[in-house]
């Protein structure tokens, strides 16, 4: 590697560890870390160089509740579960969901034709196939999740919104959703929407999934359908 490139790489690694990269740059570096041993070594070196600066943040005693919360989450993790996108039943349910989507899509197109919408997703409950939410793109930068009813969410739990493109390795969280309330998500940080992209809402603890991946039961699920 020539010196210029090495220095630019080292600066990038330092900015990553400081936390000053834009969300897009940050995501790009995170992805590169899996495949670029030079960048990884540079990041590790900066983590070690700056570590002692953490002492500048004054310690704060945690509330009495925090360890109990951690223990409960550990107990939930201990229960083995099959990841939702590996379950056959869901994929069977999705084909029915596709049918429901086309019916509702026809209805939507006939009643309120939105000229700029490119994709529509109908999210249905896996058990009953009842449509619960609709996702639509009003432009290429924003998607909108619209409730068709109000779901009862148990106390201390929340609905978390996820998506997964066909080529992605794992779903990505789009945030926590309030039952019965529309929700808008900027899409800058994700690749462009694609046909057949999976969207779903899972029931998670109120702060969202602790692992960054869906852990709770799927409440609603559906795939993106392109609107011509």
């Amino acid at each position: 590697m020539n010196p210029d490139t090495a220095e630019a790489l080292d600066t990038l690694a330092g900015e990553f560890v400081l936390g000053v990269l834009s969300p897009e740059q940050h995501a790009a570096v995170t992805e590169r870390l899996g495949t670029d041993p030079y960048l990884r070594a540079a990041v590790d070196a900066w983590e070690a160089r700056l570590l002692e600066l953490t002492a500048l943040a004054a310690a704060r005693p945690p509330s009495a509740r925090l360890w109990g919360r951690i223990q409960r989450s550990l107990s939930e993790l201990a229960t083995p579960s099959v990841k939702w996108w590996q379950r056959l039943g869901l994929w069977q349910a999705l084909s029915t969901a596709g049918l429901a989507a086309s019916v509702l899509l026809t209805f939507m197109l006939l009643t309120t034709p939105p000229p700029t919408t490119q994709f529509v997703v109908v999210l249905v409950a896996p058990s009953s196939q009842a449509p619960g939410w609709v996702v639509q793109t009003s432009d290429s930068r924003m998607i909108e999740l619209i409730p068709l009813g109000k779901d009862a969410v148990p106390e201390g739990m929340a609905l978390q919104f996820w998506t997964k493109g066909e080529q992605w390795r794992a779903p990505v969280s789009l945030g926590l959703v309030k039952p019965g309330e529309p929700y808008r998500v900027p899409l800058q940080s994700l690749p462009p929407l694609e046909a057949n992209q999976l969207f779903e809402l899972t029931l998670e603890k109120s702060g969202g999934s602790p692992t960054g991946l869906p852990t709770g039961p799927v409440k609603f699920i559906g795939r993106a359908v392109k609107v011509i």
Partner: protein, 182 residues
């Protein structure tokens, strides 16, 4: 001011966690929880969010303990990196939707009074001596970024400096720090 801790065997703790020993995680929590919460709190600027971050950090430490590679760095560093990056990710997600002016206002309020901490350091680590060699403004850029989780724009707002200048200060400071620490 917290002094670096030497009497806790972080390596052994992670090995025990990897083998499913919950007492090891609890020992880590008892020993390091308050300091990790302090780090998360400075970045998140909110008590409840900071506790959420430390919760997620301990779950991640537990589930990924087996993947810790001592060849890549210290066990203590690994634990702090997990916590800091979870905190940075949290504020990155929240700030994406925040209006820039509001963010400036919030941060000026949130950071008021904490800045003085920077003058009080008694850290013995070499990084402090290297930081002292930087000019005051670039030094504050590094500390606001690392300790307070500030973005370029927030630092520019705090220091009353143009965004491009802040970016350049940080790049140059990183180079100077690397050379000083070599």
């Amino acid at each position: 001011m917290n002094s670096p801790v030497t009497d806790f065997d972080f390596d052994r703790c992670l090995k025990a966690c990897a083998q499913g020993d919950r007492r090891a995680l609890q020992a880590l929590y008892d020993h390091e929880g308050a300091r990790l919460l302090g780090v998360a709190r400075r970045i998140a600027r909110d008590d409840a969010t900071a506790e959420d971050i430390v919760h997620d950090a301990f779950i991640r430490i537990w589930t990924r303990a087996a993947s810790f590679d001592p060849a890549r760095g210290s066990a203590r560093g690994w634990i702090y990196s997990i916590t800091r990056h979870l905190a940075l990710n949290t504020i990155r997600d929240t700030r994406r939707e925040a209006v820039l002016d509001d963010a400036h206002l919030d941060i000026s309020t949130a950071l008021h009074g904490e800045l003085d901490d920077i003058d009080l350091w008694s850290g013995s680590a070499k990084i402090y001596r290297c930081l002292e060699q930087l000019q005051p403004a670039p030094q504050r850029c590094i500390l606001h970024a690392y300790v307070d989780g500030c973005s370029h724009a927030e630092i520019a707002g705090l220091l009353g400096a143009p965004l491009g200048t802040v970016k350049a200060w940080i790049k140059r400071s990183l180079k100077a720090l690397r050379e000083c620490l070599e």
